[in-house]
Amino acid sequence: MAEPAATTPATAVANGTDLVEVRGLAKYFDVSPPLLNRVLQGEPRLILKAVDGIDFVIPKGKTFSLVGESGCGKSTVARLVVGLFKPTRGHIRFDGVDMAGLTKREEIEPVRKRLQMIFQDPYASLNPRWRIGDIIAEPIRAHRLIEGKADILARVGELLTHVGLSPVDAEKFPHEFSGGQRQRISIARALASQPEFLVCDEPTSALDVSVQAQILNLMKQLQREFGLTYLFISHDLAVVYHISDYLGVMYLGRLVEWGTGRRVFGQPRHPYTRMLLDAIPDLEMTGRRRIPVAGEVPNPINPPTGCHFHPRCPFAEDRCRREAPKSLPLPEGGEVACHAVEEGRLEAG
C-alpha cells in the first residue's frame, strides 16, 4: 500500500476532522503446526497475512464501510481497531492519539470509553446467564459513569427506549429475544458509555432481510442523533449502499480500492470492485444484469504472487503476476491498486 500518505487524498480529509486514522496496518497469524511436527516432519512455518498493510481514515461523524468476500480480513481489521488484537505492523490513531503508545490502564481507559463494537452473531454477543439490564449496565459500571442502583437502572431504561425496546426488558434474559432484538440490545450496550466511534462487524448478516433494514435504519438514526462515526463491515455491498459515506474494498488482506460511497458505487475502478458490484441487484437502476461472482478466494496462507486478484481477473497481464500493484490516488478522490488502471488499460466507469 502507498506509504507516503502525505500526497494522497486520504490526508486531504485528514485536517483534524478525522477521528480514526489507520496507517500501514498489518496482522499476521502464525498458523504453523506444533514445534514437534515441524522438527520431526520438516514442516515449514506458516504465516497467514490476514491484514497486510492497509491505510484509511474515517472523518468524524461519517461511515466508512469495508467490504470484501468472507475471509479477506475484515473482522481482523475490526478487532485491530478496537484493540482486541495487537497489530503486527502499522498504526491506529484515534483522535490523533496512537493507540500503540497507550500502555497503562489509566491511559487506555479514556480511549476505551469512546469506542465500542457491535458483533455479527446476536446469539453469541450477549452472555446467556446475564439479565439484559446487567448486560447494558456493564460499560456504565466498568467506567463508573453513573453511581447508584436507581440511576443506573434509569439510564438502562433510557438506552433500551433509544433502541426501540422497553425498560421492562431489563429484567429478562437474552434467550427471550429474537435475533433482531438482541442486536438492538447489543447496540444499547455499545451506546452505554456514550462512545463516538462504533465498529460494526457485519451487524446485520445473521438477520432476516426484513429485520436487516430495521437495524440499519436504527443505526443511521442513532448516527444522526449522537454524531457517531462508524466503521461498518459487510461482505454484502447491497447492505452498505445506503449508509456508506466512504467505501473500501478488501481482497486477501489488502485494500484494493477506496473512495466515497457515491464514487465507488457509481464509477468502480478496480476489476474486483466491478465484479462485486456486477453481482448485486441493480442499485443505481441503470438496467444492467446481475453477473455472479466468478472464481473462488485463494488460500490466504499461500496467496497468488503479485496482485492477489490475478487468477480471477479478466485484465491480468504478466506484470500482475510478478508485481503487487501500488495504491495510487485517483483524480476524483480515493485510491485504487491496479496495474491496468495505472496503465490506462481500463476505461473509467
Partner: protein
C-alpha cells in the same frame, strides 16, 4: 442446548431482582422444565434420589435419629457384643442389625459411618471442584505457557490411578506430619489426598468449555469495555462452563466415597475412633469367618448402595444435561 439453558437458569444468581420472586420464578421454571419431567419418568432415578436423600438425612441427623450413640462409652456394654440381627436366633430387639465386637449397635454405627463417609466425600469433591475449575478456567482463558504447564501436569497425574495418588499423598502427609497430630488432622489430610487426586477431570472439562466461551463475542465485548481478565473469567466465563461440572461433581462424589473407603479399608484413612463405612468393613471382616458376618456385611451393603445411588444420579444428570448423548 435449550434443555441445558432452561435447566441451569435455576442456578442463575442475579442480584438485581427480588430474591423471593426470583426463587419462585426459578422453581416454577424448574418444575415445568425438561429436567423435572425426565426425573418423574425414571423410576431408577427416583429410587436413587430417595436412597441418597435417606443416607444424607441419616448422616446429617445421626445424633438425633440413631437408636444408640455407639461412641458414648456409657451407653455401650461389652455384654451386648456379637448380637446378631433381629431375624436371627439369639438376637436382642434393641439392636435391629445386631452389634459388633464391642457391643455397639451396627445400625447406629452405619449412620455415624455414613456421616464420616459423606462428610469426607463432600469435602473432597468441593476441594477438587475449586482446584480443578480454577485451574481449568485459568488454563483455558490465559492459554500459552500457563496452559501448557497445567495440562502437562494433568496428563502425568491422569496416567496414575486416582487411588494411587491419594495413597501417595496420604502416606507422605502421614510421614511428614508429627504422629500425635494424626488424631486431629486426619480429616484434612484425607480431603486433600482424595480431592487432589480428582481435580484433573474438572480442569479438563472446564478448560475445554472455556476455550469455546472465550472466543464468543460476549467475552470480546467485555474485553473491549476493559473488564479485567480475572473478572471476565469469574463473571462471564465461569457461569457458562459450570453445567458439566455439576455432573462431574455428582459422579466424583461416588468415587470420593469409594476412595475414602478404600483408604480406610487399607488402614490409612479414617481412624478407628470415628469409623467411616470403609473402616467398619475393615474392622468387621475379622469376624467374618467366625460367623459374625453382619458386622462387615451391613457396612459393605450400605457403601455399595450409597455409591450406586449417587452414581446413577450422576449418570441421569449427565444424560439430561447433554441431550446430544441420549
Amino acid at each position: 442446548m435449550a434443555v441445558e439453558q432452561r435447566g441451569m437458569e435455576v442456578k442463575v444468581d442475579a442480584p438485581s431482582a427480588g430474591l423471593w420472586a426470583h426463587t419462585v420464578d426459578g422453581l416454577r421454571r424448574f418444575f415445568d422444565g425438561d429436567i423435572w419431567y425426565s426425573f418423574k419418568r425414571s423410576p431408577v432415578t427416583i429410587l436413587s434420589a430417595v436412597i441418597t436423600v435417606l443416607f444424607m438425612s441419616a448422616a446429617l441427623f445421626a445424633p438425633l435419629v440413631a437408636p444408640h450413640d455407639p461412641f458414648d462409652l456409657a451407653q455401650v456394654d461389652l455384654l451386648d457384643s456379637f448380637l446378631p440381627p433381629i431375624w436371627v436366633e439369639g438376637s436382642d430387639p434393641r439392636f435391629l442389625l445386631g452389634t459388633d465386637d464391642q457391643g455397639r449397635d451396627v445400625l447406629s454405627t452405619l449412620m455415624y459411618g455414613s456421616r464420616i463417609s459423606l462428610g469426607v466425600g463432600f469435602a473432597s469433591v468441593i476441594f477438587s471442584l475449586f482446584l480443578g475449575v480454577g485451574l481449568g478456567l485459568v488454563s483455558g482463558y490465559v492459554g500459552g505457557t500457563v496452559d501448557a504447564v497445567i495440562m502437562r501436569i494433568a496428563d502425568v497425574q491422569l496416567s496414575f490411578p486416582a487411588i494411587l495418588i491419594a495413597l501417595l499423598i496420604d502416606g507422605v502427609a502421614r510421614g511428614v506430619l508429627p504422629r500425635d497430630l494424626h488424631g486431629e488432622i486426619w480429616f484434612y489430610v484425607l480431603v486433600f489426598a482424595i480431592g487432589f487426586s480428582g481435580w484433573v477431570q474438572y480442569a479438563r472439562t472446564v478448560r475445554g468449555s472455556t476455550l469455546v466461551e472465550k472466543n464468543k463475542e460476549y467475552v470480546q465485548a467485555a474485553r473491549i469495555i476493559g473488564i479485567r481478565p480475572a473478572l471476565i473469567m469469574l463473571r462471564h466465563v465461569l457461569p457458562n462452563v459450570m453445567g458439566p461440572v455439576l455432573v462431574i461433581a455428582t459422579i466424583h462424589l461416588a468415587i470420593a466415597i469409594i476412595t475414602e473407603a478404600t483408604l480406610s479399608f487399607l488402614g490409612v484413612g479414617v481412624p478407628l475412633t470415628s469409623p467411616s463405612l470403609g473402616t467398619l468393613v475393615r474392622v468387621g471382616q475379622d469376624f467374618l469367618f467366625s460367623g459374625e458376618w453382619w458386622i462387615t456385611v451391613f457396612p459393605g451393603i450400605a457403601l455399595a448402595v450409597l455409591v450406586l445411588a449417587v452414581n446413577l444420579l450422576g449418570d441421569w444428570l449427565r444424560d439430561v444435561l447433554n441431550p446430544k448423548l441420549r
